[in-house]
Symmetry: D2
């Protein structure tokens, strides 16, 4: 029998992607949970597929025995809904930033508002399966990582952990994202005429995703520079990581470090020297593709990582986490 998986925020880009992935998943059935403004729209075309659609409430979740609820909602809504969903017996995967940082102080510092659920914050497990698989499989509440930190952490952690990079010189992450990362709410910034044939930097050195990367990679903020950029395309994130090679490190060393970290990972694909990922390679997949380059003559190294921000950077990773939490094979519905 299939489990029921509720989705709050199913009209947003991440939420809609979640529903599409869950629809293909052999072991679960997507249920749409209507919250506030999610008034019923007519399906288009008339014979389009539809899903069970119920109000988002603890009563409904308990009565319908939803096994898991995905919150594809803003942080303040996630903080409001998570406790009720958990109490109604569902496991929760939250796609917002509400439960990603470890302390309420750190949250207040980066998100500029008080955290209203500090106990849940303490309980939540950070949902990057490649690093925290064991904890995730036992968690009630998983904080799905930010899109930028997913690619950045997978790219940088092996460098730091293996000391292949000389972190004293600083590690730079230049990140570029498609527009869907900004959500579906209309704004001038994401209007077609403002974005097409344009490219811009934003959140220079102060993006709220930075603390996630520091946490995952064990870096100090003085060792890390991050700038986000907006690409004139729908979906995809590519990050270019720059670092100084530690003495004696060459391309073969780098390759073996990443092979050791990710050789058996189902959703990380390594490129051979001379090959580099691009966004087409990861589009609509749950893969994080990684390419490496080292130039021992100048002592400089570069790692390029690419993901689909709506899949490995959001909905796909959320389902990967759900698979772990419900005891399904980790890749179920994702290949």
């Amino acid at each position: 029998m299939t489990a029921r998986a509720g989705v709050v925020g199913f009209r947003g880009y991440s939420g809609a992607e979640l529903v599409a992935i869950l629809d293909r998943h052999p072991k679960v059935e997507p249920w749409l949970l209507e919250h506030r403004t999610d008034a019923g729209e007519k399906p288009r075309p008339q014979n389009a597929k539809t899903y069970p659609r119920v109000p988002c409430s603890a009563e409904v979740v308990r009565k319908e025995r939803l096994a898991v609820v995905f919150l594809a909602t803003p942080p303040e809504v996630s903080m409001e809904l998570a406790p009720a969903m958990l109490e109604a017996g569902a496991k929760v995967v939250d796609l917002s930033g509400a439960f990603r940082l470890r302390t309420a102080d750190n949250y207040a510092n980066w998100y500029k508002e008080q955290h209203t659920q500090p106990e849940l914050l303490a309980e939540a497990v950070y949902g990057l399966p490649e690093f925290y698989r064991q904890h995730i499989s036992k968690a009630r509440l998983v904080a799905n990582p930010g899109c930028y930190p997913t690619a950045a952490s997978l790219a940088i952690r092996p460098l730091v952990a293996s000391a292949a990079a000389d972190r004293s010189a600083g590690i730079v992450c230049d990140a570029k994202s498609g527009v869907s990362g900004a959500g579906r709410k209309p704004s001038l910034k994401t209007s077609f005429c403002e974005v097409t044939e344009n490219f811009s930097a934003y959140s220079i050195l102060n993006h709220r995703h930075v603390p996630e990367v520091l946490m995952n990679c064990g870096l100090d903020e003085k060792e890390f520079s991050f700038v986000a950029h907006l690409l004139p395309l729908d979906r995809g994130i590519l990050e270019t990581v720059y670092f100084r090679l530690s003495p004696g490190v060459d391309e073969a060393t780098l390759a073996s470090v990443y092979e050791k970290w990710y050789g058996h990972e189902p959703f990380v694909r390594l490129y051979e020297p001379g090959q580099v990922p691009d966004l087409h390679a990861v589009r609509r997949t749950n893969f994080c593709d990684i390419g490496l380059r080292a130039d021992p003559k100048t002592g400089r190294g570069v790692v390029v990582a690419a993901i689909d921000n709506l899949v490995k950077g959001a909905a796909g990773q959320a389902v990967q986490n759900m698979n772990l939490m419900l005891g399904y094979p980790e890749t179920e519905g994702l290949l």
Copy 2:
């Protein structure tokens, strides 16, 4: 009376841009110089503007008294044509990489072919007016800078010269360019379906534009990392420069450094703290827009520079150089 300015390679993107700029220039008249495959095409529509069109030969250049010839051609063609054009009495602005580096050895090292005109290479002046205005105004042969090095050098040189950046930690330049930078010749890489909704890195740590930046900024190759990326848009380059702040440097210091370097430059526009350039701001202009950010708490700094690769990165700067070489006001036809 207007001077005649010949354009070789007028069918390419840079060449066509040159013709358009020269057409608006009050003191010159564009002449199309047909070289090899530039067979006559019918103008479209029938009443479109046309220009004098003659074979590209020393005889024609001499007889028609062209004051200047622009070579919007590949390096090997520029090496072939430059001597003849100079001998025919024209000044030459070469938009290729043929005459940008200082020695034939360095050229052979980066361009993987022998330089056939080492004496002219020695004579050529590098045409970045903001740095080399005096030399340009006396030159017969000017090497128009590469598109990437134009933005990179304008962004980085003040940092190095003022020691605002701690170069021992390395300077990173993450560069992104529109597709017109790759030229007009059809290739799979620049095909619409390969580029749209895509983004990729290329020439990782070994782009042939690197030595120009090193030369302009006085950097050693161990101090500089450069990766080029292909944006899914027509025109524009945005470069994000990362560095460690020297002790005591904050945003006000940075601002005053750049103000000193560029406060009187007609084609460099500085942004106030908190404002950042984007590609729309420089589209179809000869401006290089520069934004600054320093975070003394972490000791990190960022400079963002934006240009139109076909204007300040090619045809516009070529005309700026021509203005200097022919004794016209530097901004003539460019504002």
Copy 3:
């Protein structure tokens, strides 16, 4: 001395285009008229060009002696502002639909609201210079045509007037526009992620621009079919017109009909048989490009017309009208 030209709605796409065109116009100086929400924004970058900026009121217009005021505003705002601006002594070019139709009833029928200025409606002159040049030059109030009707009317009127088309079989106009035609106000429909890699039809057989075409071409609504489509690009309109050839009409006949109508027009360019306009050809120009095709074997004909919706379809044509109204050469500032 230059005349002062006020622009209301200068933050919209048409308004901004107007300011840019007026800035290049040798005989006028743009003044920004702040209406309601047009609060002062800081220019970006700091040394960007700025213009006189004053409140939009009859007092200011009278005191500063503005010669003309452009209303790049919604119809209801235009109806409100036009009388005051006229009374303050300025001529008015309205870019909205407020004064394009001939009667208040027809307006109410298509715009679904009452017209509040029926006398001005009766006085207003429809501003398509190629057809109504004489009236425009004497007008106080000119209704600038809609973007779609500009291309459609220029393409269709010669067909009807010359009887080259057999109108009894109906004339079809399939129209495609870039996103800037929808204005700058953020909406889901014009969000990047909804538009990129998408294409859609809208206002099928009931677009409010239809009555302008009927009026200009002398067609009955039973003889005309019009569907608008949204292109995933910034600016440009291309319309494909289908009709049945009248007996004896071939490509040469068609060509001579259009040559007679437009051979001396400065802003209409005709293509030779086999050549067809596209949006790049008219981008950022005030031209309407027209291509023709007739197939006597099947008795079918096609006319393709292309304009830049923000120039010939809005701001450029508005300046063309202003030139006529103020007695300047019609092409001043537009070539």
Copy 4:
């Protein structure tokens, strides 16, 4: 046991799409058949999925017992390969135009070259399952329809067959396609810089897909006008069909006509009045979405049809045909 399905031309856009669809198909296994220039490329990334890859020859096809061979090749290559593949015991689905028309004369007329396999041409079945399902299921050789005719025929045939349209006034089909329809071979026409922010008409009244539509809909060439246009996007075709309503036909009549034709079709989706398909709705699906509009007051009607040119317009429909030819459920692998 799964059947083996060979793909010739697997590097092209249609061929690659075919391999991807076959890969998801539970009953077949894709085999790559190398023809001429299909030299082996290294997979990217290193752990990417690979498929059996063998030379394209009758011997291999016979020995490996391929059940079906798809020819995603130019017409002249298809004419060369089809006989050999059939003789080797495989059924053949040809995606080119080689076997779509009924006579060698008609082929020569539209394709401007002689047909070299007139007997096979006579035997071939036109592969539009919604119209010719029974014949396809018994065929050895199926000619997969052109992308434009697929949408056009599905949109127009019910109009003609039911006499809901007054064909004496002519039927107009304005067709717009994404760039992948032009194939993967680099050309200036499909270069990014030429296509982005552009839109153009081509093959005006003489596209070689026209005879397929005439054949499928029973129209005479005097009754049909067709113009193709190039959209600045990757994949998708939208066609807008204009016609005069026969007396007494209204929107309800139209809806019931299409409901009767397509109500039970798995791959045609009908929209309710007021709703219209767009390209996002059909992207990466095998659906043809159809919207209807009738305006009895003016006697005009419009049908809008949308498909993904690489799926329902090529690879998806080819697999739909294969399902019929091999006795599988028609929707297998396609939903």
